[in-house]
Amino acid sequence: MSEAKIACRNLWKLYGSDPAGFLRRNHNNPSIETIRAEGYVPAVRNVSFDVMPGEILVVMGLSGSGKSTLLRCLARLIEPTSGEVMFEGRDILAATEHELIDLRRHKMGMVFQHFALLPHRTVLDNVAFPLQVRGTDRQKRERRAREVIELVGLKGREGYYPRELSGGQQQRVGIARSLAVGPDVWFLDEPFSALDPLIRREMQDEFLRLQKVLNKTIVFITHDFDEAIRVADRIAIMKDGVVEQLGTAEELVTCPATPYVAEFTRNVSHDRLLSVRAVMAPASSRKPDAAAVQAQALIASVARQVLTSERPVDVIDDAGALVGTLTRDGLIDALYGKEQCA
């Protein structure tokens, strides 16, 4: 396994009069009751996780759960109270201002909820902005900006000003700007929350298409669980500054770690989320049936076959080897009750 691109360990962010001293006095692990009793506001509490290269980690939570603060701590837009954030193995919290600027100019890109475009600059100048501040000459930066603008599908709008564009188009500019320097790590802070539902869906598809081409390491913030399922490799669910559970969408749905996570995942339709592999029963090795189904297929796509079959249906992997069987009862349990945790 390769090294994590971003790793955070025991990250804390509290607001109040002397948060660092308060944390030290409480042995770096005060309870939520102590925090509130002493008048501190918890934003991020003891968060640790790794983001692997090329992975999309979605941080999901309701407003006030601390998800945006967590993202800003990773980018060091906000100073964490304690803990560490490693970026490619380097401690980002120890970086000088100069190193930090250098890092942002070459390695990081960020997309904002309300687009955060500069109103006085054209689309082209907005996208070229990160290149301009790092000193790329005009010809080069405009060539690069045109490339990215075309990539996000805004060719022909280079001379427009942000206010002349629709919300979806403005966010495309925001995306283009964040990609202009060719960053390794891509932070997205509720990028599609301010858009209409239809546009939001279209932009999610666009995002997935881009990621297929670009293969960035991504931390994606959202308050929309459906969005999280659509785009995530792994999802972290936050509440009151704490990561309640971190895992794949399947894991969250089938084995919620806390009642809060269960509450969230209860209304997710399982058939479009769970794969056959997640609900099958193991089988001893033998030659699979001719009518076997693929292990990574979603159960929605095999439901009719399984439910109309008298016998258990064989499940095979990519190589065609038998990996398990799926019974009617197993499928019904997966859809309507009796959750099984590995």
Partner: protein, 663 residues
């Protein structure tokens, strides 16, 4: 448990009618007791004893004298320094004046032909908004030429054109520093509060001492007066930049300097340009008043004619000032609201630089025209039109036809309203006033606010001008009450429809641009001099904010709540009194706050028409170059305004929070 904490707790509970009354009663009770028992109180508690006066004036004069006579920095004294700095402003002033009106005789270059000035103003208006603004701008400039106000108006314009950029840059710098350095903000914001509530004249006296009198001193006073609003709007604008936009700059890898210059300042463009608009308007207002220390131009002309009671000619100058105010305001406002838009990719050079192209065309055309006919270079004075005879005829007509009713009105006002109220005010023991203000402060903002506002009132009491201050307070109170009685209904009426609101806003905007001094002309015309005239002038001027805020408050009541009222079956009247008014009331109070500020500004200027209040004393201080007295009196006025401001703002903020309204 004291009675005080008791009421506080009661206020938390669901309010019983009696409990709701306790609090206001508690605030006015000590005041009423002291007022009614005034005859029983010892003398020292009624009148501020002479011996108690703290010699603020002498202390201030010691500082001023020291600076004037003794302070030496190396080779220069402080006065050399200020006079030297003042000398610097004469160069750009001479240059702009040369360009606009006097020409450069030394090198044989004439001033711009008036048609060129008019044409360029027109192009600017067209570029910034549309051809109508262009026509307005060109028309106003042409008016100056054709009606024989060319020289005076161009001299005034020169001061504005030189003073505004200097004041703007200084204010901008102060604003940036305040946003970036917290200690500086803590220092400068209270100072700005006081500076913005000081009457115009208080700026003039130190200027007269350190720089002298004359045109140059007027220009400097103008610069200094216009700095605070720019600083304030810079702070407001930069703080208003969305945090996300700032973060976007940081994530793009901006250094601190790049974040400021490439992200924050351009994003705050609009509030900054509104600041520029404010600076320009303040400059114009001040350059008119600076005629008291010898600034030339339209203001000087107006002052001269008013003193000679030549109303017709004064009105003529007044109209010129008003036209200049409207033009400058509209142009700078248009600049603030102009948004960039994209060009077609195949845009021609003309489409890319329309302003430059049109300006060059105007310059060429007017030079050509000036070569053909001298009328285009300078409008001959024998052809200048004058409206003075018309105005004089109007004044005569008013005097003849309206003399009796006006006299009657004036006397009735004096006898039955003004004099009784003045006597009442003068009978208020100073201790009662302190008690009232302190109790109000305590009730609205706790101990801290009580300490601040009673500190203000104590300063006024011990500065030695208590009686004069009471007269000022009485005039302001009467004027503000009348403003509310007239302005509130106007505001309610105007808020009823989109069209009325549009008209009322246009009128408010227009009237607000007029330098306050202008408002003296019509009241002198109607009431000559004295308290009635002064109060009338204050009412006209100070009515603007109450009307404006009433409209704003009523129209900004959340639509959903209004609809909830309609679907509950409210009549229009019920909607107004049960829904719109209660929700708009905090905003209306802020309007009253502004009205008080405006009234204080005007009451001082009204000293010119013979009042007996603090303004008169400031006026006298100006005549005798008594800087210490001028400053202390100015502070008295500023503290009166700030007391009202602190209390009303605290109340409105609390009320808005209670109603769950933003802001």
């Amino acid at each position: 448990m004291s009675a005080a904490t008791l009421t506080r707790q009661e206020a938390m509970e669901p309010q019983k009618p009696l409990a709701a009354m306790t609090r206001p009663l508690l605030v006015v009770l000590p005041f009423l007791v002291l007022l009614l028992a005034a005859s029983l109180l010892p003398d020292w508690a009624v009148q501020v004893p002479k011996g108690w006066t703290i010699p603020f004036v002498d202390w201030a004069n010691m500082v001023f004298d020291h600076l004037r006579d003794d302070a030496i920095f190396g080779l220069f004294s402080f006065r050399d320094l200020t006079r030297g700095a003042a000398e610097l402003i004469t160069w750009p002033l001479a240059f702009v004046e040369g360009l606009l009106v006097s020409g450069f005789p030394d090198i044989g270059i004439a001033a711009m032909p008036w048609v060129m000035t008019a044409g360029l103003s027109g192009v600017l208006g067209w570029y910034l908004r549309d051809w109508r603004l262009g026509a307005l701008a060109a028309g106003c400039v042409a008016y100056m030429a054709i009606f024989g106000k060319w020289e005076l108006s161009m001299i005034t314009l020169s001061v504005v054109l030189v003073a505004a950029p200097i004041a703007g840059l200084i204010g901008f710098g102060i604003g940036i520093l305040a946003v970036k350095k917290q200690w500086f903000e803590a220092l400068v914001v209270p100072l700005l509060n006081v500076l913005q509530s000081l009457p115009h004249f208080s700026y003039l006296i130190p200027i007269a001492i350190f720089i002298g009198v004359g045109h140059k001193a007027g220009a400097i006073a103008t610069v200094i007066f216009a700095i605070p609003p720019m600083a304030r709007l810079t702070i407001l604008g930069l703080k208003g930049v969305a945090e996300e936009v700032r973060e976007a700059g940081k994530m793009a890898g901006c250094t601190r300097f790049q974040t400021l210059w490439m992200v924050e300042i351009p994003s705050a463009r609009q509030p900054l340009l509104v600041g520029v608009n404010q600076v320009i308007m303040q400059c114009l207002a001040m350059v008119v008043i600076a005629s008291f220390v010898g600034a030339r131009g339209l203001g000087h002309d107006l002052l001269f004619r008013l003193q000679a009671l030549k109303i017709g000619q004064a009105l003529e100058s007044g109209v010129a000032i008003v036209l200049m105010a409207i033009t400058l305001d509209q142009l700078s406002r248009a600049a603030a609201h102009k948004e960039p838009s994209h060009l077609a990719p195949d845009a021609s050079l003309l489409q890319r630089f329309p302003f430059l192209a049109a300006s060059l065309a105007v310059i060429a055309a007017s030079l050509l025209l000036a070569a053909i006919t001298p009328y285009a270079q300078a409008w001959p004075s024998e052809l200048a039109l004058s409206t003075a005879p018309f105005w004089d005829a109007l004044v005569d007509w008013i005097t003849v036809t309206l003399y009796d009713p006006l006299q009657y009105l004036r006397n009735a006002m004096l006898l039955y309203v003004l004099i009784p109220i003045r006597d009442l005010f003068q009978s208020i023991p100073w201790t009662a006033m302190v008690a009232l203000v302190a109790a109000a402060g305590w009730s609205l903002g706790g101990f801290r606010l009580a300490a601040i506002v009673s500190g203000f009132v104590l300063f006024i009491a011990f500065a030695g001008y208590w009686e004069r201050s009471l007269i000022t307070a009485y005039m302001v109170t009467v004027a503000v009450l009348l403003c509310i009685m007239i302005g509130l209904p106007i505001g309610i009426w105007a808020s009823r429809s989109e069209r009325r609101t549009g008209i009322a806003k246009l009128l408010c905007d227009t009237f607000q641009t007029f330098p306050s001094f202008i408002y003296l002309i019509p009241v002198i015309m109607l009431f000559k001099v004295g308290d009635v005239a002064a109060i009338s002038a204050i009412i006209i001027y100070a009515m603007i904010p109450i009307v404006r805020y009433t409209i704003f408050g009523l129209r900004n009541v959340p639509q959903e709540i209004v609809e909830a009222g309609i679907t509950s079956g409210c009549t229009q009247r019920q909607l107004l009194w049960n829904i719109r008014m209660p929700l708009a009331f905090p905003e209306i109070m802020l309007g009253i706050n502004q009205t008080i500020m405006f009234a204080l500004f005007m009451v001082i200027i009204a000293a010119f028409i013979g009042t007996k209040d603090i303004g008169q004393e400031i006026f006298r201080a100006l005549t005798f170059n008594d800087a210490g007295k001028g400053l202390v009196l100015g502070l008295c006025v500023a503290f009166m305004g700030l007391t009202a401001d602190q209390l009303i703002t605290a109340w409105a903020t609390r009320r808005k929070q209670k109603l769950g309204l933003a802001g």
